[in-house]
C-alpha cells in the first residue's frame, strides 16, 4: 500500500544542514497498524509528515497504492490529503470555533457532500470514537482525550486509505491514552484501517502489530510480529538502541 524508497530529508544547507532522514525505505501493507518509534530527534515525526504529504522529502520516492505522490503538485496533494489520508495531530489541531461535528463534517462538505449527508457522516464517526451526544460541543468544552477522539473522528470520517497519527497520546494521561489507543485498535481490527502512528511510549506497542524504529534518521529495526514476541521483548530491544 505504502512504498517508501530511500526517503531523505535535509533541513538547511551547507555546514548547518541537518539530515533528519538519511534514506529510509520500507513498505506498509493494507490493514497494518504500525508504530514508528525512536528517541527525540530520530526523524520519526519528519517521516510521518512526509508520508502524510504535509512536508516534502529532499530525495527519494514515495507511492501510495502505486501512485507516486511525492511529486504531485500542491492542488493534487491537497485533494489527496482530503480524500485518502487521515492525520491525527499531537495537539489535536481542532478549529476552536467549530463544534465537534463541524470539525468533522467540514471535510465531507469539501468533498462535495451535502450538509445533511456530511452531518450524518460526522455523527457516525463521532459515535464510532465514543462521542455520541457530544457533537455540539466546541473543543473548549471537551477533555483532552475527547478532543483527540474528535480529531480521530475527523480523520476516519472520510474513510481514508491510511491514517497517520503523530504522538496522539502525548498530551493525555494514561487513562485517556488507553481510550484513544483502544479506538485505534478497534478501527484497525474491526474496519481494517491502516494506521501509522508515531510514539515514544514503549507500552503503546501492545496495540500495534509492527514497529519501525528510527535512530539518527535511519531505520534500525522493523519488527512485524509483535504480538507473538510480546511487548516486553520489544521494549527491551528499543532501550538497547
Amino acid at each position: 500500500m505504502i512504498v517508501a524508497k530511500n526517503i531523505k530529508r535535509c533541513y538547511g544547507t551547507g555546514e548547518t544542514a541537518v539530515k533528519a532522514l538519511k534514506g529510509v525505505s520500507f513498505k506498509i501493507d493494507k490493514g497494518e497498524f504500525v508504530a514508528i518509534m525512536g528517541a527525540s530527534g530520530s526523524g520519526k515525526t519528519t517521516l510521518l509528515r512526509i508520508l502524510a504529504l504535509l512536508d516534502d522529502a529532499t530525495d527519494g520516492e514515495y507511492t501510495i497504492r502505486g501512485l507516486e505522490v511525492s511529486s504531485l503538485p500542491e492542488a493534487e496533494r491537497s485533494y489527496y490529503r482530503l480524500t485518502q489520508v487521515g492525520y491525527v495531530f499531537q495537539d489535536y489541531a481542532l478549529i476552536n470555533e467549530m463544534s465537534a461535528a463541524e470539525n468533522v463534517y467540514v471535510l465531507s462538505m469539501m468533498e462535495g457532500k451535502s450538509k445533511k449527508e456530511s452531518y450524518k457522516t460526522a455523527l457516525e464517526a463521532l459515535d464510532k470514537v465514543g462521542l455520541k451526544g457530544k457533537h455540539d460541543r466546541v473543543p473548549d468544552e471537551l477533555s483532552g482525550g475527547e478532543k483527540q477522539r474528535v480529531a480521530i473522528a475527523r480523520a476516519i470520517a472520510k474513510k481514508p486509505d491510511i491514517m497517520f497519527a503523530d504522538e496522539p497520546c502525548a498530551n493525555l494521561d494514561t487513562n485517556n491514552s488507553k481510550q484513544v489507543l483502544d479506538v485505534f485498535k478497534e478501527l484497525n481490527e474491526k474496519y481494517g484501517q491502516t494506521i501509522v502512528m508515531v510514539t515514544h511510549e514503549p507500552w503503546h506497542v501492545e496495540y500495534v502489530n509492527r514497529v519501525i524504529t528510527l535512530e539518527d534518521g535511519n531505520i534500525i529495526s522493523d519488527d512485524r510480529k509483535l504480538k507473538e514476541k510480546g511487548s516486553t521483548e520489544l521494549s527491551s530491544q528499543n532501550s538497547n538502541h
Binding site: 502524510a52 512536508d55 491537497s78 485533494y79 482530503l82 478549529i95 469539501m110
Partner: protein, 402 residues
C-alpha cells in the same frame, strides 16, 4: 468552486458564531468610525455648499438668470424678455433688476457698494430681500429717495468691523450716494437688511426707477432678469423652454452660476474636501487591512490545520473574504446609525459659523453609496490579501512556525 464557497461560508459562519464577541464589537466599532470618517466631513462641506447655493438662489440669481448679450451693459428689451419668460409654463415669477456701482457717504465715511435697483412688489415672489429687514422697512412701490443698506456696510451687522462701514447707520439717517456716472443723490435709509451673506450684506437696494432716472434709461433696460420656477429641479428644462420662447440673451440656471461663481469661494473648501476624502480612504484602507491582517495572523495556525486536513486554499481565502465582508458590513451598518444620528442632531442644531451662518449637513445618497462600495471593496481586498498570503505558506510553517 461551489464546494469552496460552501466550506468558506461554514468556516466564516463558525468563526462569527463562536468567536470572541468583545473582539467582534471592537472591530465593528473601529470600522464604524472609519466609515463615519469617510462620510461626515463631506456631508458638512455639502451643507456649506448648499448654504451658499441657497443664498445664490434666494438673492442675486433666483432659479434662472438672464444676462445681457455679449459686451452689452444692459438687456435692452427687458420688458419683452420678461413677457416671453412669464409666458413659459413652469415659471412662477420673474423680475428685472439694475445693478450699478456707487459709493455711499455718511458723516465723512465712504463705502463702495453695488446698488441694485428693483421692483419691490415683484421681489416678494422672487427673493428673500423683503424678509431680511432687521431694522426699518423694505421698499415699497412708492419708495423714492429711499435706500436699504446691508448690515455690514451700515456698520450694524456681524462682520462689519472687517469691512469699511458707515458707522452705525440707522433707519431715518440720510446718506449721500455717488453713482458710477458721477450723479449724486441723497437718500433716507429706509431699512437695514441682514442676510448673513456678504453678497447681500455689502449691497444696497433702491427702487428700479431711481437707477433708471440716474442713468437716463428708457424703462426697458435691466442688468439681469431673475426667474423663479414652480418646481425645483426643473430649471434646466425651463431654461430650454425660455430659449425656445425666443429669448436670445444668455440664460443660466442657479447651478451654472453657482458653479462659476461659487467655484472660487468653494475652491479651497473643495480642496479640503478632496484631501479629506483621500486621507480618509487611505486611513480607512490601512485600518481595515490592519484589523483583518491581525485577525488572519492570529489564525495562522488554524489556516495551516485547515490546509493539512485537505481544505483548499481557495476555501480558506474565501472564508476570510466572507469574514471581513461581514465585519465591514456590520461596521457600515453601525457607521450609518452613527452617521444618521449625527446628521439628525446637526440638522436640528446646525453648526453656527460667524455667529449667524448656520450650516446643516447634507445627506448625500451618492456619497453614502460610494463610501459603502469603497468600504466593501476594501473589505474583500483586506480579507483576501493576508489570507492568500498565509495560505501560500507551507503547512509546517503555518502550524508550527517552521
Amino acid at each position: 468552486m461551489i464546494n469552496d464557497i460552501r466550506v468558506g461560508a461554514l468556516i466564516a459562519y463558525s468563526s462569527v458564531k463562536r468567536g470572541n464577541k468583545k473582539t467582534l464589537v471592537f472591530i465593528v466599532f473601529v470600522l464604524s468610525l472609519i466609515f463615519l470618517n469617510l462620510v461626515f466631513l463631506p456631508s458638512m462641506i455639502g451643507g456649506l455648499s448648499g448654504l451658499f447655493t441657497g443664498f445664490m438662489q434666494d438673492y442675486p440669481y433666483g432659479d434662472i438668470v438672464i444676462e445681457p448679450m455679449g459686451d452689452n451693459s444692459y438687456i435692452n428689451n427687458a420688458d419683452n424678455v420678461l413677457k416671453k419668460v412669464r409666458a413659459v409654463e413652469g415659471v412662477r415669477a420673474a423680475t428685472k433688476r439694475l445693478d450699478v456701482g456707487a459709493s455711499i457717504n455718511h458723516k465723512q465715511k465712504v463705502v463702495g457698494v453695488t446698488i441694485t435697483g428693483m421692483l419691490p412688489i415683484e421681489e416678494y415672489d422672487i427673493s428673500r430681500y423683503p424678509h431680511i429687514i432687521t431694522e426699518g422697512d423694505f421698499l415699497t412701490d412708492l419708495s423714492r429717495d429711499e435706500i436699504i443698506i446691508g448690515a455690514m456696510i451700515a456698520g450694524t451687522g456681524f462682520g462689519s468691523e472687517i469691512y469699511d462701514n458707515l458707522g452705525q447707520v440707522r433707519p431715518g439717517a440720510l446718506v449721500e450716494v455717488t453713482y458710477s456716472n458721477g450723479v449724486k443723490r441723497t437718500y433716507k435709509v429706509k431699512g437695514i437688511m441682514e442676510g448673513t451673506f456678504e453678497v447681500v450684506d455689502l449691497n444696497a437696494l433702491v427702487h428700479y426707477k431711481e437707477i433708471e432716472d440716474v442713468y437716463g434709461l428708457q424703462g426697458r433696460e435691466a442688468t439681469t432678469v431673475v426667474v423663479r420656477v414652480d418646481k425645483q429641479g426643473t430649471e434646466a428644462h425651463i431654461q430650454e423652454k425660455i430659449r425656445d420662447a425666443g429669448v436670445n440673451e444668455p440664460i443660466y440656471t442657479w447651478a451654472d452660476k453657482s458653479e462659476s461663481l461659487i467655484r472660487q469661494a468653494m475652491q479651497s473648501m473643495g480642496a479640503i474636501d478632496i484631501m479629506s476624502k483621500i486621507v480618509s480612504l487611505i486611513v480607512g484602507a490601512a485600518l481595515v487591512l490592519i484589523i483583518i491582517y491581525i485577525n488572519v495572523l492570529n489564525r495562522k495556525k488554524e489556516i495551516g490545520i485547515l490546509k493539512a486536513v485537505g481544505i483548499t486554499p481557495r476555501s480558506i481565502v474565501l472564508s476570510y473574504a466572507f469574514l471581513s465582508t461581514f465585519y465591514v458590513s456590520l461596521g457600515i451598518f453601525a457607521g450609518l446609525i452613527l452617521y444618521f444620528s449625527l446628521m439628525f442632531y446637526f440638522q436640528a442644531n446646525p453648526v453656527t459659523f460667524y455667529e449667524t451662518m448656520e450650516i446643516s449637513p447634507v445627506i448625500d445618497p451618492v456619497l453614502l453609496i460610494q463610501s459603502i462600495v469603497t468600504m466593501l471593496t476594501l473589505s474583500v481586498i483586506a480579507g483576501i490579501l493576508p489570507a492568500w498570503s498565509v495560505s501560500r505558506e507551507s503547512i509546517l510553517k503555518a502550524i508550527w512556525g517552521r
